[in-house]
């Protein structure tokens, strides 16, 4: 309870301020109202920090790999941003948003369109923190994305799927990996060509069943 007062209440207050400042309306997205959020019944992670889109063009393997490896802002592969944090990419100042999705997927088109940002030929950065009650080995990150995407778990690149593709549950799956007890950072870069854009992600156990008992938070690491 003390931890809740100390760390989460100020965070929630910040979230409320940011939401008011944004003055946006997302059909499928809301601001987080709790410190942590369990995945939905299908195991999909519904809480993410998403950065406003960065211009990017091309969906092939090499182009996407080059695009996501380019440094757009400091500590790009390690930063755990706060809601409302801003980074400068080129001449633009971009904002991180803490988001809960009402669906199994996070609709990036809704996100960007409501902000008056471009939705085509763009790159989105997304980050979340998965809290594990114990070490879990032999699990896999399983994602779907529209379109190409590259994913990291605790700093290690584990998935890359490329081309003009739609979000299909478990489209891209990592090799077996180990989630450590406590916080695990999941980071993604989603590159869209044109039209709709979204992603979904969950962890699967050794029998390809959604992992239960984990939660997603955006503030745990900041403690």
């Amino acid at each position: 309870m003390n931890a809740f007062r100390k760390y989460y209440l100020p965070t929630l207050a910040l979230l409320a301020v940011a939401a008011t400042a944004a003055q946006v309306s997302w059909p499928t997205l809301t601001k987080p109202a709790t410190p942590e959020r369990a995945p939905d019944a299908g195991g999909f992670i519904q809480r993410w920090l998403v950065l406003e889109p960065i211009p990017a063009n091309g969906l092939t393997d090499n182009i996407v790999q080059t695009a996501v490896k380019k440094e757009y802002f400091p500590n790009q592969f390690t930063v755990i941003p706060h809601d409302g944090d801003k980074v400068t990419v080129g001449a633009s100042e971009l904002t991180w948003y803490a988001l809960d999705t009402k669906l199994y997927n996070l609709n990036l088109y809704h996100f960007a369109h409501a902000l008056g940002k471009p939705t085509s030929d763009v790159l989105f950065w997304a980050v979340t923190i998965v809290i594990c009650p114990r070490e879990m080995s032999g699990v896999r990150l399983a994602i779907g994305s529209n379109a190409a995407s590259v994913w990291w778990v605790n700093g290690k690149e584990v998935i890359g799927i490329y081309g003009d593709r739609q979000t299909v549950i478990d489209d891209g799956v990592s090799k077996r990996l180990t989630l450590q007890k406590g916080p695990n950072v999941v980071r993604a870069a989603i590159v869209n060509g044109g039209g709709a854009t979204d992603f979904c992600a969950r962890f699967l156990d050794a029998d390809d069943r959604p992992i239960k008992g984990i939660t997603a938070t955006l503030s745990e690491v900041h403690k």
Binding site: T60, D61, N62, S120, S137, G138, R140, A142, I161, Y162, D164, V168, I169, D170, D171, G172, V173, S174, K175, R176, G194, G195, L204, A206, D208
Partner: protein, 506 residues
């Protein structure tokens, strides 16, 4: 050069395999396993043994020689039923012998005589040869079929505790006519009677073919797929002559578990072996309640497609569109193209052809040499992707000499066609493509055709397999689709499509 390569691929694609080693036999028994080895016995005291089901050698003859033995393992006993003419045909008898092992090097290798279990007196409508032994999985009852052309194929009940006739005075059930080499099996609520029609023992002029009927009762009637009773000559074809082999006979079920079934037979004449009679093992498939003879995998170039996802296994490199890149137009971000007009974003169809008109000339198959210059030289991951006829999606399956095999087939290497880049299992039970094949067991692959015609793909071993086997499975690991775009190694689940694969000709 291109045409020479294509011709080679075509030749490889038609190359089938018979078993390896010493496989000469006539009227082979059902293949049974004993202490990790496969055994079968044939007419005249012939015997074959194999460590892996692929390479065979001559074995030890049974103490009782005769016609067309059959074998079954019940409890701690191996019962062998072997027939002999005891006068002018059709006067014959089926004798039983038993042993606790089939391994002559075992101290328990000792045959006991069990006596006559069926006979024909030379006058009655039966010829008591060609025994087939069947243990009913539904109730544990043991049955013996026998007979050969003279009159009926007959059925009598035996005692599974002794292998002997329960009541020698019981009247046999008549099941079929005009055939021999009968055997039975049970599948999904039906009993199947399999028998060999046609003539034997004429080399490449033998008309042997294996046919069958089915019944809800073990005692019949056995009807074929057209409703014709086998006792009136009916019989649905399971397998006949084909390719370079003539005259299949003497069906024997080889059930490997997990829904993987095969069957043994002999060919009256293998033309590649000078017309000799040889043992073979084929996959047994099921379609609409009827068994179907599958074929062992042939060498060739294939797309490996997951039944579960419909996507194809590929080397994880950036593909090059066949025929070259073309810009997308019309649907999505541009206006629809005018009929016959120029393509938005380019003129791939050429002047006057429109965006859907193609190039006007055939597009040749993509050559790996044309697109692989930028591929990494070291180990490369695999992934699954929509099949687009690209070089990194085409796999060459090539039998590996002297590397052993499994029932019916040798081990294969799986390489990117036109390269030596070899698919391999990794110590953490994942997949990788090595720069070159070096013969390691993790690069040798076993392909078993499943009941629906799809295939199970299994490495001979996983490097340092103790760890992953303990971690992920106590059973052998097989190629498994996870999600749409990834393949791994996982334990085989017969009820899932995850481990079912199709070999499609590119």
């Amino acid at each position: 050069m291109k045409y020479a390569l294509f011709a080679t691929i075509l030749a490889l694609a038609t190359l089938a395999f018979a078993l390896d080693g010493q496989i000469g036999i006539h009227d082979p028994s059902t293949i049974v396993m004993c202490d990790g080895k496969y055994y079968t016995y044939g007419t005249g005291g012939s015997s074959l043994v194999s460590d892996d089901g692929w390479t065979w050698r001559s074995g030890t003859a049974l103490p009782r020689r005769g016609l067309a033995p059959d074998v079954i393992h019940i409890g701690d006993r191996y019962y062998v039923y072997v027939a002999a003419n005891i006068g002018a045909q059709p006067k014959a008898a089926v004798n039983m012998i038993w042993s606790k092992t089939l391994d002559p090097s075992s101290p328990e290798y000792k045959w006991e005589e069990g006596g006559v279990v069926a006979s024909s007196d030379g006058v009655e409508d039966s010829n008591a040869i060609d025994p087939g032994i069947f243990l009913d999985p539904t109730d544990g009852k043991l049955w013996l079929t026998y007979g050969s052309y003279f009159g009926y194929i007959r059925l009598v009940q035996l005692d599974p505790k002794t292998g002997k006739r329960i009541n020698p005075n019981d009247q046999p059930h008549n099941l079929a006519i005009n055939c021999e080499a009968s055997d039975m099996m049970y599948h999904d609520g039906w009993y199947y009677l399999l028998a060999t029609h046609g003539s034997c023992c004429r080399g490449a002029d033998s008309g042997y073919n294996i046919r069958l009927g089915r019944s809800k009762n073990v005692t019949g009637p056995y009807l074929d797929a057209d409703g014709v009773d086998m006792i009136q000559g009916g019989g649905k074809l399971l397998i006949g002559s084909g390719g370079r082999v003539v005259g299949p006979g003497h069906f024997g079920l080889l059930d490997l578990g997990d829904g993987v079934q095969k069957f043994s037979l002999h060919w009256e004449a293998d033309l590649e072996r000078g017309g000799a009679s040889v043992l073979d093992i084929r996959p047994l498939l099921w379609r609409d309640g009827w068994p179907v003879a599958g074929e062992n995998l042939k060498e060739g170039m294939y797309e490996l497609e997951s039944v579960r996802t419909g996507t194809a296994l590929e080397l994880a490199v950036e593909g090059v569109p066949v025929g070259g890149p073309r810009a997308r137009g019309g649907r999505g971000r541009g206006a629809a193209p005018p009929a016959g007009g120029a393509a938005p974003g380019g003129t791939p169809g050429g002047p006057g052809r429109g965006m859907f008109g193609g190039t006007g000339t055939p597009i040749p198959p993509q050559e790996v040499a044309q697109v692989s210059t930028n591929w990494p030289t070291g180990n490369v991951d695999t992934r699954m992707a929509t099949y687009l006829c690209q070089a990194q999606q085409k796999w060459a399956l090539t039998a590996v000499p002297d590397a052993g095999g499994y029932p019916g087939s040798p081990y294969f290497k799986i390489t990117i066609a036109g390269t030596d880049r070899a698919l391999a299992a990794t110590p953490d039970a994942e997949l990788v493509v090595l720069p070159a094949f070096n013969g390691g067991p993790e690069q040798l692959w076993r392909m078993d055709q499943l009941a629906d015609g799809s295939w199970r793909i299994m490495p001979k071993s996983v490097p340092n397999s103790k760890e992953p086997l303990v971690l992920y499975s106590k059973e052998p690991l097989v190629l498994s689709a996870v999600g749409s775009s990834f393949a791994t190694l996982a334990k085989f689940d017969p009820k899932s499509d995850r481990q079912r694969w199709l070999f499609k000709t590119p």
